[in-house]
């Protein structure tokens, strides 16, 4: 059991960091092994924002192997050197935690595949997100703990999706935590609640097509599956509709791009989702109490039906 939540403001920005924190904290009983945020902040759109990690959180409850902190510094140094080699200029650098970094990069490219492959060829380094608006922040603990650790409550933006995770089929670590970046697409992220039963079959096919997997978490398949469809010209909505046939199992998932937010529910409707929709705001979550954290007044909500796909624009 995991919990997912998302919201999109249409025509305006809001304090999405704080709002998503409230939604995810309301769902913490669905799992607090790890919590992740995909925040689409207000930026000038000039530079790429790269969130990446050079190690794992090895705190209490982690399934990761303990490493000396000095290893993180060595990996960061290699990342810096590689960026220089590729002609990418780091405009701003933040190191929130020893293993977690945020770079604003001046880099002129539309194809992030080569860029990502070179960065991730450095052992122990994983790009959590890459985009001009998207920032994926994920770590162990519940929503409030992660929000406080990364000071997310002041992030202003248009939309966000998040995930409160109870680890079932893979480790308690950052690499298995949601959201997943839709590698190698700029500003694409995914969160998922459910189980995919044809994960390995799909993974083998996609890996043969050159797609990359960083974890053994079945949810990562959704991000890679949709990214591969988009790589061949499908729109987000088309990719999501195809996933209802191509992915087997029970699932409800959200996908976000720079200017849109979508949801999909499997044909058996086995995983919960409650949705609130108005002209200026769409909020959705695994349970109504998540929506109530941002809309405490009486509102009309509903459960999307089986096999339903919806996409909203900002």
């Amino acid at each position: 059991m995991c919990g997912i939540a998302g919201l999109i403001h249409r025509g305006k920005s809001s304090n999405v960091g704080s709002e998503l924190q409230g939604m995810l904290q309301a769902l913490k009983h669905r799992g607090e092994d790890s919590t992740g945020y995909a925040l689409y902040g207000d930026t000038d759109g000039k530079n790429f924002i790269m969130r990446f990690k050079v190690g794992e959180n090895v705190g209490e409850g982690s399934s990761s192997v303990m490493e000396d902190v000095s290893v993180y510094d060595e990996r960061k140094k290699i990342v810096d050197e590689t960026l220089v080699e590729m002609g990418a200029k780091v405009v701003k650098e933040e190191r929130t935690l020893p293993y977690s970094l945020r770079y604003e990069i001046d880099y002129d490219t539309k194809d992030l595949l080569d860029f990502s492959q070179r960065i991730e060829s450095i052992p122990g380094v994983e790009i959590l997100s890459m985009g001009k608006s998207l920032e994926v922040i994920k770590d162990l603990g519940n929503a409030k703990m992660v929000c406080d650790r990364y000071s997310l409550d002041k992030v202003v933006g248009t939309h966000a999706i998040g995930h409160a995770r109870m680890a079932t089929e893979s480790g308690v670590d950052i690499k298995s935590a949601h959201p997943f970046w839709g590698y190698p697409f700029s500003d694409v992220s995914v969160v998922h609640n459910g189980q995919l039963t044809n994960y390995w079959n799909n993974r083998r096919v996609l890996e043969n097509k050159g797609m990359r997997f960083m974890s053994e978490c079945d949810s990562e398949l959704i991000a890679v599956y949709i990214a591969e469809k988009m790589r061949h010209g499908a729109t987000l909505e088309e990719g999501m509709k195809e996933s209802l046939i191509g992915l087997d199992g029970v699932f409800t998932y959200f996908v976000a791009t720079k200017d849109s937010l979508g949801m999909a529910k499997d044909t058996m409707a086995a995983k919960p989702l409650v949705l609130y929709e108005s002209d200026d705001l769409v909020a959705m979550g695994s349970e109504e109490i998540a929506i109530r954290s941002v809309l405490p007044q009486e509102i009309d909500t509903y459960d999307p039906f089986d096999g339903e796909v919806k996409v909203w624009q900002i």
Partner: protein, 284 residues
């Protein structure tokens, strides 16, 4: 081991031919005796006055605290309780085994009104998954939409949703009536064993999948039939019953019930014979 025997002293119901056997042992059945009604005590119930009304704001309460307070108010004789600010909390109003007028001014989360026996409930909002699960008797009316597993395993009572409901409505139900004013999702009536479901709108795929018994009435389009769910003839008595039920439910007053589809179990999946109650129980 259950021991089947004929009792010499018959109860009133038995003497009327309603029961011909009694099980003793672990699964012993006890029949209600009108002569002993005065001594009858149903654990956890109170004498309440419907005209004695109060309000309860649960905004800053947990679900267990709110439920205890409802119980406390019933013990003081309040027969009409209005709950303010439920705000989507889970498990509100569970386990009420009393006659009671209960009104929620807002929406409930999961498992609202679960395992109840007797109350008349009106929810002026939406309900989450598994509303009124295991309802034994009473009436629950939801003014807006409902989540999945609506009325799971109910055994009696009327469960009414004026909006649309999610998937697996009436899953495993064993009695009672579920009435939906809008649409219903996939697997409606999944494995239902008895009772009736009425849907005025459309219904999703796999309607009545693996249903053992019971009846489903659908006013709109059907996504697909589930395994062993088959059409049946809508009789005039069905139509009379539907009109009566919809009137009581305060929905679909002008709905043309003559055009509804009636779906029942094809009974091809039955892997037991009709003699089971007597012969097989004796052999256990």
């Amino acid at each position: 081991m259950a021991n089947l025997k004929t009792v010499s002293k018959k109860s009133k119901a038995q003497s009327m031919g309603m029961h011909t056997e009694v099980l003793t042992g672990r699964t012993q059945q006890k029949f209600f005796n009108p002569d002993e009604a005065e001594n009858f005590y149903y654990f956890g119930t109170y004498d309440v006055d419907f005209n004695k009304r109060t309000e309860l704001d649960v905004k800053n309460m947990t679900a267990p605290e709110a439920n205890k307070e409802i119980d406390n108010l019933m013990s003081q004789g309040y027969g009409t309780i209005v709950i303010k600010n439920p705000q989507g909390k889970h498990s509100l109003g569970v386990g009420i085994l009393n006659k009671l007028n209960l009104i929620f001014e807002g929406s409930l989360g999961y498992f609202g009104m679960g395992s109840c026996d007797g109350p008349i409930v009106r929810i002026n909002g939406r309900v989450g998954w598994s509303c009124a699960e295991n309802l034994m008797a009473g009436k629950v009316v939801i003014e807006k939409n409902a989540g999945s597993c609506f009325g799971a395993a109910i055994r009696g009572g009327d469960l009414i949703c004026k909006g649309s409901v999610g998937a697996r409505t009436g899953i495993d139900m064993k009695g009672g009536t579920i009435i939906i004013g809008g649409d219903a999702g996939a697997f409606t009536g999944f494995m239902m064993q008895r009772g009736r479901i009425i849907i005025l709108g459309d219904v999703g795929i796999n309607l009545g999948d693996s249903m053992y018994d019971g009846t489903i009435f659908v006013g709109g389009e059907i996504g697909s039939y589930g395994s062993d769910a088959v059409d049946s003839e809508l009789t005039s008595s069905d139509q009379d019953w539907l009109k009566r039920k919809l009137k009581v439910a305060e929905i679909g007053e002008n709905f043309d019930v003559s055009k509804m589809k009636k779906i029942v179990a094809g009974k091809k999946l039955w892997n037991y014979d009709n003699l089971e109650p007597t012969e097989k129980k004796g052999a256990i």
